[in-house]
């Protein structure tokens, strides 16, 4: 790696590192304000997240939906679209995967899993067609249409869960999927499953796609400057449409990993907001497929570590979530930091 690439790499990750450190600093102030020792709390958090193989497994398990979600968000963002509907696309994917999981029987596991995942991806894809077409045909802003579709997805999956595929009992959940459709666990008894491997492979494939194929190049150009892309003969509407649909399909897979790998069924409103936190993960990873992996693991570590921490010191485990929110506040202001530091280093005051 020569110096200019190294420099480029530094400027790419610098705002993210700074955002994490700033968030940790404010988090420390919060811990101090409630009368606990920040160092002790963070040490407990670290131990809870990475202390032994089983805590690693839990951290990676929690990171998995964020890798999928981050990838889904980043591919849309790279084309210039803000897909805030990952949550809804994930829900329809999760239930589609579960339906295939419990309605087909007596087929080999690899085939059953493949079919369930395909159904999930397709459901997310279909759910993303609506905002994509509205954007391209009617000029409806995707942020609004995807937010609205999230609520339609909540209600639709709730309807299917409670009225159609309801397993008798007090809990709003569907039937259990067949064992042949369960994503195999990697480190039982932890729920970490092959979905994690799929997420990592997907990240690498998307990396190759975005940076080493003409298709990916066109997508990135369109996102950076739609006008320039058009001059270069790139059909921007088609690219935007495709990117949104891919984003939806990945979000669908994200849901299937939960329903087939963790719960073994669809549970009504199972998500604590994976699709929204995934936006933060993608931004922290600079919308780069390979940057998303460490960002997702960091978020998984915050949540897993914070649970452990809350048992050791008197700090509520929501601190982990607060750190995540602070990180994206700082990421939001990244240009401010980056430009500020650049001009400080260069010493010019223009």
């Amino acid at each position: 790696m020569n110096t200019s690439r190294l420099k480029h790499f530094f400027w790419q990750i610098f705002p993210s590192v700074l955002a994490v450190l700033s968030a940790l600093l404010i988090g420390a102030a919060i811990i101090f304000a409630i009368g606990e020792n920040p160092l002790q709390a963070y040490a407990a958090m670290f131990q809870g997240a990475f202390g032994d193989p089983s805590s690693w497994a839990e951290t990676l398990q929690r990171a998995t939906p964020y890798i999928f979600g981050g990838l889904a968000f980043s591919i849309a963002t790279r084309s210039g679209l803000f897909n805030i509907g990952i949550e809804g696309q994930m829900y329809v994917g999760a239930i589609a995967g579960a339906i295939v999981g419990f309605s087909i029987h007596n087929i080999p596991a690899f085939l059953h899993i493949a079919l369930a995942l395909a159904a999930a991806a397709l459901a997310g894809y279909v759910w993303a067609i609506i905002p994509a077409l509205l954007k391209v045909k009617s000029g409806v802003h995707e942020v609004i249409s995807t937010i609205m579709l999230n609520y339609v997805a909540y209600a639709l999956t709730a309807y299917l869960t409670v009225r159609v595929f309801h397993e008798p009992g007090a809990v709003a959940q569907t039937y259990k999927v067949d064992p042949s459709a369960i994503l195999p666990a990697l480190m039982p008894p932890n729920k970490l499953n092959t979905g994690f491997i799929i997420a990592i492979v997907l990240a690498i494939v998307i990396y190759g796609f975005l940076f080493y194929t003409p298709w990916g190049y066109n997508l990135r150009v369109t996102g950076l400057n739609p006008g320039a892309g058009r001059y270069a003969g790139i059909k921007s509407t088609r690219i935007v449409l495709r990117a949104m649909l891919m984003s939806g399909a990945i979000a669908g897979l994200m849901g299937a990993e939960r329903s087939l790998g963790i719960y073994g069924r669809f549970i009504n409103s199972f998500s604590p907001g994976y699709g929204f936190t995934a936006i933060a993960v993608s931004l922290l990873g600079q919308n780069h497929p390979l940057g998303i992996i460490p960002a997702a693991i960091l978020f998984g570590a915050f949540e897993n570590g914070a649970s452990f921490m809350s048992l050791q010191v008197n700090v509520p485990r929501e601190l982990g979530l607060i750190l995540e929110a602070l990180i994206i506040v700082f990421i939001a202001a990244e240009h401010f930091f980056r430009d500020g530091l650049r001009s400080m280093l260069k010493g010019d005051k223009s």
Binding site: V140, I147, L321, V329
Partner: protein, 305 residues
């Protein structure tokens, strides 16, 4: 038999619509100066929380209202600073505010009351009473929260302000074309900051209605997406105060009717979809005509030279 218009449906419509039109009005003051705010839900949640705990500690609901306005204004200042000063993506900032609000409120609940679910019960805002004797209107007005009335007054005042005053015209011009506005000597940034801060204070007020207007406690994530419905109402109401009111009342009616119609052939989950679907359909058909302020969501970056 299904009834479409009973006293209880009207009362429920008003109760559901109140946080929506106050919230939509707050959102409108953001977007009219060109700032998108998808953080309405988080700001509403923070307002609800601030109102409930202040009302609990001071034993005064109006202090709670004041706290909700203050917290809303502070979050508005944060949003404005990120969008205007740091020139960041407005949607990113809104998402950050939503995540921050939902985690911080639960964190503080646990810390203050050792309870992640809800706050202790607190004094609630008063409501109209003793009007039973008036025919028809009496039973409808009875038990109506003072905040509902305040909200209606704010809608009318905002309409007058935006369309009948010079400042209102200037404010709208900032959202349409800030560069032109600046060239006419309008202090664009000051308008943006003030309008976003006031708007977000109103969203905080909408939250106060949820916790100490309708109920007398704060419960975890009690907005349940009402901030987003308020955003939808604002769009369906084409970014105007009266339109937002109309859309909010419509959404309120649909939801109130749905609660009343429980157990009918149409499942509740399907009826819940109506406000969202309406918004999508309205947008799909009128997006070309019902455009928001032209400069909404874009970054205002005047050249310094």
């Amino acid at each position: 038999m299904i009834s479409f218009l009973t006293i209880s449906i009207i009362q429920a419509t008003v109760a559901i619509a109140t946080p929506l039109y106050i919230g939509a009005l707050g959102g409108l003051f953001n977007e009219r100066v060109g700032v998108v705010n998808v953080g309405l839900d988080g700001i509403m949640l923070s307002g609800a929380f601030a109102a409930a705990i202040t009302s609990y500690y001071t034993q005064s609901a109006w202090m709670g209202v004041l706290a909700a306005l203050t917290v809303g204004a502070l979050l508005g200042l944060l949003h404005a600073a990120i969008c205007i000063e740091f020139k960041a993506d407005h949607v990113v900032s809104g998402v950050a505010i939503n995540i921050l609000a939902s985690s911080l409120t639960v964190f503080l609940l646990q810390l203050l009351f050792n309870n992640k679910g809800q706050s202790p019960s607190a004094p609630k805002i008063g409501q109209i009473s003793n009007l039973d004797s008036i025919p028809i209107l009496g039973p409808i007005l009875n038990n109506m929260s003072y905040l509902t009335i305040i909200g209606l007054v704010l809608i009318l005042l905002s309409h007058f302000f935006l369309y009948r005053t010079k400042m209102g015209l200037r404010l709208r011009s900032v959202g349409e074309n800030p560069y032109a506005a600046q060239s006419l000597g309008i202090p664009v940034r000051r308008y943006m900051y003030l309008s976003v801060i006031v708007g977000c204070a109103l969203v905080g007020l909408a939250g106060a209605f949820l916790s100490i207007g309708m109920l007398n406690v704060f419960t975890k994530n009690m907005t349940a997406g009402r901030g987003y419905i308020a955003l939808a109402a604002m769009i369906c109401g084409r970014w105007t105060p009266l339109g937002s009111l109309g859309a909010s009342v419509f959404f309120g009616y649909v939801l109130a009717w749905q609660m009343n119609a429980q157990g009918l052939a149409i499942p509740a989950q399907i009826l819940e979809i109506i406000p969202y679907l309406t918004t999508i359909i309205v947008l799909a058909f009128v997006a070309k005509r019902a455009r928001g302020p032209a400069h909404v969501g874009k970054i205002f970056a005047p050249s310094e030279h």
